[in-house]
């Protein structure tokens, strides 16, 4: 059975859904961030799959940009988590309901 881009899309969609569920269900903000990483990876799988299918490396270039964005997001996000934790001794997203503290 040949592996078509549809297979990769399905895999990517499933990973995406798992990520979305993680974001929605979990209240630990670190887990939520990791779920976002899963979502970004789902996107990357798609990009790379199409890049392979179309014999065009532009998809991979975009995947690299996505990784760069993920790195930036992780750095800033984790900085926010640390700042929040320092003030509230918690990483529960439901307690993060103030714009400033």
């Amino acid at each position: 059975m040949p592996i078509t881009p549809t297979h990769y899309m399905l895999l990517s969609a499933a990973l995406f859904i798992i990520g979305v569920i993680g974001v929605m269900v979990r209240r630990n903000i670190i887990i939520i961030f990791m779920s976002i990483e899963l979502i970004l990876n789902a996107v990357n799988i798609n990009l790379v799959a199409f890049s392979a299918q179309l014999h065009n490396v532009i998809g991979q270039v975009f995947a690299i940009f996505v990784i760069a964005v993920a790195a930036a997001e992780a750095a800033v996000g984790l900085g926010i988590i640390l700042a929040f934790y320092r003030n509230k001794e918690s990483v529960n997203i439901d307690e993060m309901n103030l714009m400033r503290w």
Partner: protein, 366 residues
């Protein structure tokens, strides 16, 4: 965890670099030491109380067990105190041999110090080099009194026996070997950039503050205070010796290191002078068979490798035991400066500073 709260770390009593069974409770902010509390007493054997139930001669053996890396110095210090109490004149030959033994002991003790201090900072080779030379000194001691660690090498009024024939030649030969070895240690450490970075500016303490904390010995001299009992209140044959008292400038770990390195050389100088000038004569003074000093008290201090080692002894004039026996151990007095020294430094500096004040727990706890 490290940003939001202080972390309490228990360093010791089983820790590779607390030199025995010292326990330091560190309060850390990140890796920075906010406060330190020294807990001692894990090696307490009650030597002072024990001494009050031994007769005067037996106590010499107990003093071995205090500073066990410089037992001969403790022996001499005790014997001199009792001699002071008894008003006994010690023959000059004995005085000279005592001086040689004490200075050899100082070198042995400093060898151990430089080795462990360097080992704590991570230079492991110096440790083995220094122990190699310490072994030579132990051989000399073995030849003199038969023991290698707890010598019991002194008697009240003089020496237990005369020096073996040819011993003085061996001492001089050792001095020649040691000269080069000290340079060897210095090559490995003194100008090593990592060593400089690890020791310069660490645990800086000014002269007046060091006096206020009761520091003594090289730890005090590192801060620029030229206090040395050998010079200030000469005992044994030190009055006849020509030597310098090295002092530091900054009062940091590096200066304390330099002071001790220079003391190596000064000790060799003293040993050479003393060995070449050993006078002929008896080795024991006129000591009564039954030692029973008249009622009274006395305090006598000597310069042990770690600092001012003092004995305070009270005799009631009736029994053959001291009525009260109290030691002023240099390690103990230096150790109380540790919390002041480590405050504001990093965890890694704590071990450097413990090494830099050169403590022996046997003496701290007694």
């Amino acid at each position: 965890m490290f940003d939001t709260s202080e972390l309490v770390i228990n360093m010791g009593p089983q820790h590779p670099s607390t030199h025995g069974v010292l326990r330091v409770i560190l309060r850390l902010d990140g890796e920075k030491v906010v406060d330190a509390e020294v807990v001692i007493g894990y090696l307490h054997r009650g030597i002072e109380k024990l001494s009050e139930n031994r007769n005067w001669t037996q106590i010499v053996l107990l003093t071995d067990r205090m500073d066990y890396v410089a037992a001969a110095t403790s022996n001499v210090g005790y014997c001199e105190t009792v001699e002071k109490l008894l008003n006994v004149e010690v023959p000059r030959r004995a005085q000279y041999v005592r001086t040689i033994l004490m200075e050899l002991q100082r070198i042995a003790s400093h060898c151990l110090w430089v080795g462990t201090h360097a080992m704590d900072i991570g230079a492991m080779t110096v440790f083995l080099y220094a122990f190699r030379e310490r072994e030579l000194i132990l051989d000399l001691f073995e030849e003199f009194c038969g023991a290698r660690l707890t010598y019991n090498s002194m008697r009240i009024g003089g020496l237990p026996q005369d020096i073996p024939p040819g011993w003085d030649k061996k001492v001089l030969a050792f001095c020649d070997i040691m000269d080069g070895k000290i340079d060897e240690y210095e090559t490995l450490l003194t100008h090593n950039r990592i060593w400089l970075e690890r020791t310069k500016g660490i645990g800086v303490i000014s002269g007046p503050e060091a006096i206020g904390l009761g520091l003594c010995g090289p730890a005090l001299r590192g801060s620029g205070v030229a206090r040395d009992v050998r010079k200030d209140e000469p005992y044994s044959a030190y009055a006849e010796m020509d030597f310098d008292v090295p002092v530091g400038v900054q009062g940091d770990t590096y200066d304390r290191y330099l002071v001790r390195m220079e003391e190596f050389r000064q000790s060799l100088r003293i040993i050479r002078q003393a060995t070449q000038g050993i006078p002929e004569g008896p080795i024991v003074g006129k000591v009564p068979r039954l030692i029973k000093p008249a009622a009274g008290e006395t305090y006598h201090a000597i310069e042990s490798p770690k600092g001012e080692l003092g004995y305070f002894i009270v005799s009631d004039g009736k029994s053959t035991n001291p009525y009260r026996f109290r030691v002023r151990p240099p390690s103990f007095c230096n150790l109380q400066g540790l919390p002041r020294l480590v405050r504001g430094h990093l965890v890694a500096d704590v071990v450097a500073l413990i090494g830099s004040i050169d403590i022996v727990l046997g003496e701290v706890d007694r």
